[in-house]
């Protein structure tokens, strides 16, 4: 009994210990909150940055470019890249147009072949030129999978919920 009293007295006689415990607990809570807040902020900021990048890839924000600011046109969004691709394809077609190719061939000394000037020979397994195929023939229909996966959209809480749901489904015996 005396020993218990002695111990109680010893602790009660040292109030700074109690203060340190309170301050320590407070600081621990504070640091915990700060760490969680920092992680949350980091994740949110990164998600927002990636979200913005995705949006910029989809369409140009604001939709217009300023004549006095944007000196060089750089396609950024999917739509602009599609336009740019189409434009490059057209430029290539202009360079290889029938008139241009004929002129270049003529400049290089080529002349149209005459029927009498052609020698025909048998080439085994020769496959004559076939009309163009720009895409494969129709096949099985591809799955309509979302382009942006859930990893880029869900929050930490969503992820935890999802994991818990999947775990519970596994425990129930059903497939996730």
């Amino acid at each position: 009994m005396d020993r218990v009293q002695l111990l109680a007295q010893a602790y009660s006689q040292a109030p700074w210990r109690r203060q340190i415990q309170i301050i320590g607990a407070f600081l621990l809570a504070l640091v915990t909150v700060w760490v969680i807040a920092a992680i949350y902020l980091d994740v949110t900021a990164r998600a927002a940055t990636i979200g913005r990048e995705i949006q910029d890839m989809q369409v140009r924000s604001g939709g217009v470019l300023r004549i006095d600011v944007q000196k060089d046109y750089e396609p950024t969004s999917i739509e602009e890249l599609e336009q740019y691709n189409a434009s490059l394809q057209l430029r290539l077609a202009n360079l290889t147009s029938d008139a241009n190719m004929a002129e270049r061939a003529y400049d290089m000394g080529f002349r149209p072949a005459e029927p009498g000037g052609i020698v025909y020979i048998v080439v085994p397994d020769y496959v004559p030129q076939q009309p163009v195929t720009l895409a494969p023939p129709p096949g099985p229909i591809a799955n309509n999978t979302p382009i942006i996966t859930s990893a880029y959209k869900e929050s930490l809480v969503d992820w935890i919920k999802d994991q818990l749901f999947q775990a519970s489904e596994i425990l129930k015996g059903s497939q996730p």
């Binding site: 998600a47 927002a48 940055t49 990636i50 979200g51 913005r52 995705i54 949006q55 989809q58 369409v59 140009r60 604001g62 939709g63 217009v64 470019l65 300023r66 004549i67 006095d68 944007q70 000196k71 046109y73 396609p75 999917i78 739509e79 602009e80 599609e82 336009q83 189409a86 434009s87 394809q89 057209l90 290539l92 077609a93 202009n94 290889t96 147009s97 029938d98 008139a99 004929a102 149209p112 005459e114 029927p115 009498g116 052609i118 025909y120 048998v122 009309p131 163009v132 195929t133 720009l134 895409a135 494969p136 023939p137 129709p138 309509n144 979302p146 382009i147 942006i148 880029y152 959209k153």
Partner: protein, 594 residues
């Protein structure tokens, strides 16, 4: 000392507390203040933006994958009123940069732009002031904007704003462009901004345009979502061979020039598939300047005479009459006919082209000398029912269903029609009193080159939709005559050309064909003295790879098809056999037998 510290702490805590309280109160006040709704509305305004996504229009290729119709970037130029510093400079620069545009090269354009640039941004901040501005014009505006910035850097003015192009903005979109300019313009066609047009562009407009979709894009980056899948425009692959088309157009232009013709048509068709390999017509429009349509095609001029203009074909039509009679067994190649130069039917007298009598003839002679009297006799022997049944089976008077806009059906009067008379049987037999389009005729005659079968004529070879290529299979439309009849007639017409030493003959290749010289009717009858000269032929006779149809309108050098159209056929075939890799008959037969 400790009390002093406590007071300071308390004071600091009180200050923070008051600040927090003020913030809290202000937040609450804003939530319930009269302006709260306005703030919420403003927030909603910036929450998302509407974006109209227009997928690129489908492209058009020739059979080898050469681009015939594509898209290029052009710009819409607008004014962002919140940024404008000097409306005068903006209006001046824009009106000067766009001098090349007919619609903006007007005295009022400067004042219109100035008025817009001077507006206050009250209800809206963006105004579009020009469209279809080229890359070069935008580059010019950028260069001027930079020059103004350099020139007036660091300067200020109290009286008037310094020159600046601030506020001028642009956004890109696509515009149709044709890298081959006039080449195959009559086939490709165009669609104007009102949605009207011609050719395959018009025929397949809905497929190629894709579906524009208005999409709300949320500005909150945490709410980035998948873009909805917008239906892309379908790409078309045509049956046209770019090089053959170019060659045929060149030959046609030369022929018109040399023969002083008013216009012309040349069609090259694959009789085994119905694929149109080339189709040259005049006049032709540079599709990149489709707005000059009215200048190129004066009122009433068809855009593509090959499918949109019908005319009396004349003697080339005799091929169909003879095919019907042989198939119907009314005549055989050896049937004898004594030509005394006249034949009476339905109260009219039919003469030959030279008003002469050609004496005893077999059927080959009738075709070789193009005897109207003989063919009218054949039709009368067949009888009206059989004759018109065959003509309808050949598709005369019916649309071919070709996949180009603006096709007309021509006219075949048949017994029972108010304006049909018995004499029509005699005149129709040699191509008078019947109206056909060039494509209709070449399609009908292709049966003779394809074992009696007519394939559906078409220019669409395949289309690419959602990543897959769908090929259009050749389709048999009808088989008006038997394969045996087709072979007999083909040989008969080849022999006719050979015996006649026709200008249509091509060295090394056996071809069959028939000339046509059709007087052009006027309201008073066949009195104009003007003709339509034509020739239809195919080859090689033992394995036809092409049917070529030539039509020259009102040639002035000579009225006869044998003089003006037959040599054009030869020129076309001499190029075709090279471009289509067709060896001369003897080499081909030797190679085949190996």
């Amino acid at each position: 000392m400790k009390i002093e510290h406590d007071r300071r702490y308390l004071l600091l805590a009180a200050i923070f507390g008051v600040v927090a309280l003020v913030i809290g109160v202000q937040l609450l006040r804003l939530q319930f203040s009269p302006e709260a709704d306005a703030f919420r509305a403003q927030a909603k305004l910036y929450e998302k933006e509407l974006h109209v996504y227009s997928p690129p229009r489908g492209e058009i290729y020739d059979r080898w994958g050469n681009l015939l119709a594509g898209n290029k970037i052009v710009y819409e130029v607008g004014i962002e009123l919140t940024l404008v510093e000097n409306p005068e400079t903006v209006a001046f620069a824009l009106s000067k940069a766009l001098l090349g545009h007919e619609e903006y090269d007007q005295s009022t354009y400067y004042s219109e732009v100035f008025a817009i640039a001077s507006l206050e941004p009250v209800t809206r901040t963006y105004w579009a002031v020009a469209d279809y501005v080229t890359e070069e014009e935008v580059a010019t505006l950028k260069r001027w904007a930079e020059e103004y910035q350099v020139l007036y850097a660091g300067q200020t003015s109290k009286d008037a704003p310094l020159p600046s192009l601030r506020g001028l903005v642009y956004r890109s979109h696509l515009m149709r462009s044709y890298p081959e300019n006039e080449l195959a313009a009559n086939i490709i066609g165009f669609v104007n901004r009102k949605g009207e047009g011609y050719g395959v562009e018009m025929k397949f407009d809905e497929m190629m345009a894709g579906a524009s979709e208005a999409i709300w894009i949320l500005r909150d980056p945490n709410k980035a979502e998948n873009m909805p899948r917008v239906e892309q425009g379908v790409d078309l692959i045509l049956t046209i061979d770019r090089q053959i088309q170019d060659t045929v157009e060149e030959i046609l232009d030369q022929a018109i020039d040399v023969n002083g013709a008013e216009g012309g048509v040349i069609i090259v068709l694959d009789p085994k598939t119905g694929e149109i390999i080339a189709m040259a017509t005049t006049p032709r429009l540079d599709l990149n300047e489709y707005w000059k349509f009215g200048q190129v095609y004066p009122s009433g001029t068809p855009f593509n005479p090959a499918v949109s203009e019908d005319y009396e074909p004349g003697s080339v039509f005799k091929v169909l009459t003879m095919a019907a009679a042989l198939d119907n067994e009314t005549v055989t190649p050896n049937t004898e006919f004594y030509d005394n130069g006249v034949f009476e039917i339905g109260g009219i007298t039919i003469h030959n082209w030279n008003y002469g009598a050609w004496g005893p003839q077999n059927m080959q002679g009738c075709m070789q000398h193009s005897l109207n009297v003989c063919l009218a006799w054949i039709a009368s022997e067949m009888g009206q029912n059989d004759f018109y049944r065959y003509m309808q089976a050949f598709g005369i008077g019916h649309l071919t269903g070709v996949d180009m806009a603006g096709e007309v059906s021509g006219r075949l009067k048949i017994p029972g029609d108010d304006d049909w008379f018995e004499s029509d049987l005699g005149t129709n037999a040699f191509g008078q009193g019947v109206a056909v389009t060039p494509l209709q005729l070449v399609s009908a005659i292709s049966a003779v080159a394809n074992d009696g079968k007519i394939m559906a004529p078409h220019v669409l070879r395949a289309f690419v939709d959602r990543g897959y290529q769908y090929t259009v299979p050749p389709q048999v439309v009808r088989a008006p005559i038997s394969a045996e009849t087709a072979k007999i007639l083909s040989d008969m017409l080849a022999a006719s050309l050979e015996e006649e030493a026709s200008d249509a003959l091509v060295e090394g290749y056996r071809v069959a064909g028939k000339t046509g010289t059709a007087e052009i009717p006027t309201p008073l009858g066949y009195t104009s003295g003007e003709t339509n000269a034509s020739f239809v032929g195919w080859g090689p006779v033992d394995d036809p790879r092409f049917v070529v149809y030539v039509w020259l309108k009102k040639p002035s050098s000579s009225p006869w098809g044998s003089v003006v159209a037959a040599p054009v056929f030869r020129q076309v075939v001499e190029r075709l056999v090279v471009l289509m890799n067709i060896p001369p008959d003897d080499i081909r037969q030797a190679l085949t037998s190996q």
